[in-house]
Each structure stands twice: as structure tokens, then as C-alpha cells.
Amino acid sequence: MRYIPITQADKAAMLRDIGVSSTEELFAANIPADVRLTRPLQLPPAITEMEILSHVAELTKSNANLQDYACFLGGGAYDHYIPSAVDTFLRRGEFLTAYTPYQPEISQGVLQVIYEYQSMVCALTGMDLSNASMYDGASALAEAAGMVVAQTGRKKVVIAGSVHPNYRRVVKTYMHGIGVEVVEAPLDHCELDLNKLAGLITEEVAGFIVQQPNFLGHVEQVRAIEAMVHAKGGLYVVCADPISLALLEAPGNYGADIVVAEGQSLGNAPSFGGPYLGVMATREKFARRIPGRIVGATLDTRGQRAFVLTLQAREQHIRREKATSNICSNEALNALAATVYLTLVGKEGLREVANLCVQKAHYAAARIAKLPGYQMACKSAFFKEFTVNCPKPADEINKLLLGKKILGGIPSSVDYPHIPNAMTIAVTEKRTKGEIDALVAALGEVK
């Protein structure tokens, strides 16, 4: 068989050493007859490596993909450039085929990468400590909601209606489990209505969750919100875009207690939605409350600096039902991608990426807003995404764009019915002026 390297001679010798005449005896000794499957599995016959490659290529060849289409979709999954060296390390078997570094003496590679990752996350977010990664931005946000509930003992969480709709769904799913009420704060156009928010933040609220920039692309008044939340003794959770943090203020500098981010944009392929990278960082005072693995530096018996999983008394394998979360496997390989990415682009490169996004997004917005029938859905500032009202429903427009090999923006109709014909357009550093002009021209053809 393909990946089974035992020969028939090996098998015979092994059975002899075990003292049985067939593997069937081993199964018969374990599995009662009444639960045995007595027919073969109904699966298509095995095929070879060559056939697997041609099968999947054939299956997926009709998919639109970001190598053939100019992508203006965002919403937490962005078409940022991935430097060549990133994949070199994702394919290194020493990283790829290892598990959680339980044996630190032979896992210093992964452990040091995670320590460097945690250091970079802290540098970007302005926070004191980061965990080793979580499943994705949405589930990390849900875990943050659980953290503020556990920390404050309060049973209500308020979340901005401008947070990614899917993230809000995940937060609600998790909070339903522990009987916590989730209240959505309403919007004024494309940003939070601060007057209405003030009425929602009470002393019963464990925490408030904001996304910066928000799902519609626009910036929130994060400093004013901070004062409101902390005045009532709640905790402040900020869901940030990591690329934006090169230019936008670090949440640690405006009072965030927990920062969560979707780390896909840091060197991870869009991959139809996963695997992505859940980033989570917090203040030192919550070190024993944060879920997930954490790596720390220590010394070995020879007095050398070395790295090890630490503060494990929070985790499920030690604390069982009293653990801060059930998380075990995380997204270490995606954290490796982020670490290599941030190393390659470096301090100046990340600012360049962010600036290119801002400039191109504003160029696109200005041109689109001048088209007849299109207007910006709100006046507030934005980073690399913005929302425009269109003359027709966005999914109809997107159908026209597809014919020109353009993936248009996210239609707002389902999640933001107050702007039914709007579209949220993302522009990364990869979009050329030519592609943006083509988008504008195509939008201009919509009647």
C-alpha cells in the first residue's frame, strides 16, 4: 500500500513475535462481533499520486482564484503579497511534521519561532503578552469574550454591529454555551453610533468588543469608546487588522485589555477561508486567564537560554474542566508563516505595505465616488477597505465584474440592510493602478 512500508515477510515475522497467526486475531480480541463492519467501506477505489494531482486539478480548475482574478474582496481574508521565502519554511519537514513542542530539548526550533512570534505580536499590538495562536480571528474573538466574562463575573457582552458578521455569529455561539447575553451596538451609517452605545454600556457589561477598522472598512472612535467602557468597569476588546497596525495606533496605547486579530494577512494564503491565524494578546495582569499555549524563555541545565511551554496551569491537560479553554491544537504553522513574513518585510516594509494599501484604496474610492450612481456610504476615514452605495444590488454588479476577471467587493445586503445596495471594497498593495482603473471602468458601465 502507498504509505505502509511493511513487507509481507516483515508482517509474517511480526505476527510470529506477537504470537498470532493473523492481524484478524488482534481485532477479534478487541472488537465485539456485533459492532464489526462486515462489508468493505463504500469509497472510490484507490488512485496513484499522478491521478490524485490530475483529479484535483480537474475538480478545481473552474474555480475563480486570486492568481487569475483581480481581487477586491476582503472581510478578514486579503490578497496581500506573500514573499517566496515564507513557503520555503512552511514546507520544512522539521516544522511541518512536528507536533506541539512537548519535548523542549528536541523542539527548540518551533519553540523559538513561537517566542519570536509572541514578541512580534506584542510589538504590533502594544500589549504585554501573546499566546502561541488560536484557530482564527473569529474564534479568538469568542475566546476573548469568554475571558472578559470569567474575569469580571458579569454575564453580558456588548459587541459593535460593525464587527465582522461571521465573528459576531461565532461569539454568539460560544456565549450561548455559557449562558451569556450578547447585545449588538447599532450603527450610524458605517460606524458605531456612540450616543446609542453610551446607553448600552452599563455596570452589568463584562466587556465591549470593537473592530478597528471595522468590517465596512471604516475607523471607529476607539479612544472615546475606551473611556466609556472602562468607566463602567468593563474590559475593552479590540479586533484589529494586523497590517493596519503599521500605521494605525497600537491598541495597547489606547487602553485595550485584549487584542485579537485575524493573522491571515501575515503571509498566509487565502485558502478558501482556512487555515488562518487567531492572534490574541493581553495585559500582564491577565496572564493566567489567557487561553492557549504560551512559550517562555528559561535556562537549561547547562545555563543556556532555551524555550519551553509555560504557564500551563491554565490548560486543559492540567486543569481539565477548570481550564481557561479547551484549546489544544492551534495554528502553529500559520504563526510560523506570520513570523517569517514579518521578518522578511520588517519594520519599514510593513509600513510600506500599509501605506500602499491606504493610498490605493483612497485612489479607488475617490474614482468610484465620482461615478454616476455611486457614493461613499459614509464620510468617516478608512484604511484599505471602504463601503460604497451602488446604483444596483452589489451581487448583480459582481456578476458583471466576474466576466472581466474581477472579484468585486462584499455585498452588504444580507448583514447591513440599512445600506442595501452597498459593496465593501478591499484594495491591497497587490492591486495595480491598471486593475483599479479596470474596476472603476467596469463599475461605470453599470446602468
Binding site: M14, L26, S119, G137, T310
Partner: protein, 484 residues
């Protein structure tokens, strides 16, 4: 070289690796676009290195790490099997790795079809009716599964069911999951062979039982002979039965949780279906259910509508979403390739996994204590109790001595119900020579423990670092680089 400086310590101001094209649209001052109070005052202190320095740094680090590609990795309960390289090509194909999750479904039909097909195949392997591929890992699957059970009881207004029963041999994720879903955890003791103690179970089940979570084969690597009885007892009390698929590599094609009476099953594609563990993740934890739980599955569900595959969001009883998109699609694509490579011969995977584990047990039974003396399934549990009592050499020492042999040690001190446990899962992808080399090392260490115990207790001797001061790490947490 026994330490590698941090990438931050290699940083020199002004060095660059990647540069970007000049801005091709008219540039505007940032301050005119974004209010200054929202702009960053001080750049993030990221490293500044050249490309070759970056590449050498991460290559050096990779050489300080053990993986399945390097050598044997018999970490019990983790199924560290070979991760086929073709799977890495499949997940990087343009339509797979470079598809956007929010692109219209009609432009991603290949991927929806792949998800739909995978769901059917995994249902066939497990004997379930429907499956969600949204959970991103095993524990995430557990949470999803237990929330499905919660939704089921709530839909019947059966609100008194506040307890989840978990055997004391279970993985820590089981009780942690039940607590995260708002349940009280009731621990039930196991028999010496890791099976559920039926008398103890009968005592704790009742009108407050929401579910029982069970791993079968158990964490002792033994199939529970009373599994159908266990399911019947819980069902009779009105509870549902949850199957932790951590040990699915033992039974593919031989038995199916659906046929044993389980209502919910989670799989670990990163264990059983050969996707790489990545240094701790990503994984994928699909959850299969019987018909009664289908209405509660996370949204969206892939459905066939005529000739088209569509996302079905209109599911009013759904628990909602557990992941920002559709789960770890890139991992599912790798597992899809693995299923194509085996088809119905997945049964041979389990056959050889069980053969290899029993071979190791047979060869080591005279050197270590057996947790339980019976043919095992895909993993065997030994104990160093006698070596500890007579020579002061503990399981931890044996594990550290194995590091000098170039293999990853087995899982140690788990399951908790076995003293000085050594849990060995060789998987089906090892050749006999590798198994024999491991067996030889384990036998030599057992002898050395008697003849020169200090040599074992002071191991490892050949690794890049010695044993670590874990107490110091926890007492004085140093969790990030802080500059000079």
C-alpha cells in the same frame, strides 16, 4: 552552536529583505486621510534583516526541531503518521489555496463539491448521517458536538440536562469542552482496562444527563467491549453519546462509531487522515451526527440544488457558526487527497497501525510493566512503575534518554489512571527496521536503568539543550523580547 540568537538580536537598523513596487497612484499625505489621533506614533519594533539572514535564521531553527520527516515520533494519542508530500501540492493548487472564502459560490463549485464529497466519505467511514467540516481542530470539534447536543435538548425544552459524564481516562479536552459549553462535568471511574465501569455509570446517569463523552478505543489503546451497553444506558436515561475520534486510526473499515450507538463523532484529520501537525496546528476536527442532530449543524451547510452546490444559511435551528469561514479548508483538501490514495483500503491503515503497536508491546513486555495485559489496538500503554520503585528511574527519565537515540519519546504520564505511563503509538507508516531500532533503544534503556541509573536520570546528553528549568519559566515569565 547550542543557542541561536533571536531574530531581534540579529537586527540592524536600515536592513531590508523584501521591498515593494513604487506606489503607482498619486500619493496623498497620510495625515489628510486618517485623523492624527488614530495614527501610530512609534513604529512597531519589528526586526530589520536581509533575506539571507532571515533564511539562515529559520533554517537554523528548523534544524533544532524533530518531526516525522526527521525520525520516529510514536507520540501516543497524536497519530504522528507520515504526511504525504502530494497533499502539500493539492492544497496549493490555484483553485484551492488561492480561492477567497467570500467569492460567489458559483465561482467555487470545485471546492464546494470537494467539501460535499468529503462529508459523504467521512460519514461512510464513521457511520454517521451528516458532517460539518467547520471545526478547526479536535477540541473545536468537541465544543461543536457538545453545543449540538445542548441545542438538541433545548429544542425539546428538556432543560434539566446540565451534566456531561466523562470517564477519568479521557483526554483533558473532554471535561474542558463540557465546561465551555456550560455543563457540569461528572467524572466516572474506569475499569483497569480503561473501559467504562457500567455499575459506576448506572449510578450517575439520570434525568440530568445531557451526554456521555467517550473515547473508543480508550486512551489505554483498548476497545471497550461494552460500548453498545454504555450507549444504551445513556440513551435510556435520555442523554446522547459523544464519540471522541482521537483513536479512529485503530478501527477504520473494522467498526464505525455510528454502528456502536454514538450520536455525535468528531474526527481529527491531522491524526487519522495524515495532514501535518505543523508544530501544533492547524488541524481539522469534522463533526458527524445522526439525523436527529442535523438541524442544529453550524451554518452554512453545503447542499446540492439541482446541478449546483450551494451554501445553505437558512437553518433556523443551527447553533450558528464556530469559525469565521468554513473551517480549515486547506487541511480538508489534504485529507481529501489522502482518501483518494486509499479508498476502501483505509482498512489496511488500521490493520498495520494495530500490527505495529502489538509488535512493540510484545517486544517490550519483558522490560516494562504493561498497563493491561491484552492485545492492544493502535497504541500500547506501558509503565515504568517497577523501574521507578526499584531503581529510582522515572518515566520522564526514560523519555529524556530516548532523545539521545534520535526518536521522539512516547506520550508520558497519560492516561492519568496509569502510574508512570508510557503511551506508544507507532502508526502504520513505519517500517520494521525503525520499529526494531526503537524497541532496541527501549530495551537498552531498561537495562541501563538498572545498571547505570544516573546515566538515564541525567539524560539527555546529546541534544542542543539540556533539561529545562520549567519552574523558573513559570515563576519569572519571560514571554517576549523586550530589547536590551
Amino acid at each position: 552552536m547550542s543557542t541561536v540568537p533571536l531574530i531581534f538580536e540579529k537586527s540592524t537598523s536600515g536592513k531590508r529583505a523584501i521591498t515593494f513596487p513604487r506606489c503607482d497612484v498619486p500619493e496623498v499625505a497620510l495625515e489628510s486621510l486618517i485623523p492624527s489621533e488614530l495614527l501610530r506614533q512609534k513604529p512597531a519594533a519589528l526586526p530589520e534583516v536581509s533575506e539571507i539572514e532571515a533564511v539562515r535564521h529559520f533554517t537554523q531553527l528548523s534544524r533544532r526541531n524533530h518531526g516525522v520527516d526527521v525520525d520516529f515520533y510514536p507520540l501516543g494519542s497524536c497519530t504522528m503518521k507520515y504526511n504525504p508530500k502530494v497533499n502539500e501540492e493539492v492544497c496549493r493548487m490555484p483553485g484551492v489555496g488561492f480561492a477567497h472564502p467570500l467569492q460567489p459560490a458559483e465561482t467555487a463549485q470545485g471546492n464546494l463539491k470537494m467539501l460535499h464529497t468529503m462529508e459523504q466519505w467521512l460519514c461512510e467511514v464513521t457511520g454517521m448521517d451528516r458532517m460539518t467540516l467547520q471545526p478547526a481542530a479536535g477540541a473545536h470539534g468537541e465544543l461543536t458536538g457538545i453545543l449540538l447536543i445542548k441545542a438538541y435538548h433545548e429544542s425539546r425544552a428538556d432543560l434539566a440536562r446540565k451534566k456531561v459524564i466523562v470517564p477519568d481516562s479521557a483526554h483533558g479536552t473532554n471535561p474542558a469542552t463540557a465546561a465551555m459549553a456550560g455543563f457540569e462535568v461528572v467524572s466516572v471511574k474506569s475499569n483497569a482496562d480503561g473501559s467504562v465501569d457500567l455499575a459506576a455509570l448506572r449510578e450517575v446517569v439520570g434525568a440530568d444527563t445531557a451526554a456521555l463523552m467517550m473515547t473508543n478505543p480508550s486512551t489505554l489503546g483498548l476497545f471497550d467491549p461494552n460500548v453498545t451497553e454504555v450507549a444504551a444506558i445513556v440513551h435510556k436515561a435520555g442523554g446522547l453519546v459523544y464519540y471522541d475520534g482521537a483513536n479512529m486510526n485503530a478501527i477504520m473499515g473494522y467498526a464505525r462509531p455510528g454502528d456502536m450507538g454514538f450520536d455525535v463523532v468528531h474526527l481529527n484529520l491531522h491524526k487519522t487522515f495524515s495532514t501535518p501537525h505543523g508544530g501544533g496546528g492547524p488541524g481539522s476536527g469534522p463533526v458527524g451526527v445522526k439525523k436527529i442532530l442535523e438541524p442544529f449543524l453550524p451554518v452554512p451547510v453545503v447542499q446540492m440544488q439541482g446541478e449546483q452546490y450551494v451554501w445553505d444559511w437558512n437553518r433556523p435551528q443551527s447553533i450558528g457558526k464556530v469559525h469565521g469561514h468554513y473551517g480549515n479548508f486547506g487541511v480538508v483538501a489534504r485529507a481529501y487527497a489522502y482518501c483518494l490514495a486509499y479508498g476502501p483500503e483505509l482498512k489496511e491503515v488500521s490493520e498495520y497501525a494495530v500490527l505495529n503497536a502489538n509488535y512493540i508491546m510484545a517486544k517490550l513486555r519483558d522490560y516494562y510493566d504493561l498497563a493491561f495485559d491484552r492485545f492492544c489496538m493502535h497504541e500500547c500503554v506501558l509503565s515504568a512503575k517497577t523501574l521507578r520503585n526499584e531503581h529510582g528511574v522515572k518515566t520522564l527519565d526514560i523519555a529524556k534518554r530516548l532523545l539521545d537515540e534520535g526518536v521522539h519519546p512516547p506520550t508520558i504520564y497519560f492516561p492519568l489512571i496509569v502510574e508512570e505511563a508510557i503511551m506508544i503509538e507507532p502508526t502504520e507508516t513505519e517500517d520494521k527496521a525503525t520499529l526494531d531500532r526503537f524497541i532496541d533503544a527501549m530495551q537498552r534503556i531498561a537495562k541501563e536503568a538498572k545498571e547505570d541509573p544516573e546515566r538515564v536520570k541525567s539524560a539527555p546528553h546529546t541534544t542542543v539543550v539540556g533539561r529545562l528549568d520549567e519552574a523558573l519559566a513559570a515563576r519569572k515569565p519571560n514571554l517576549r523580547y523586550r530589547g536590551d
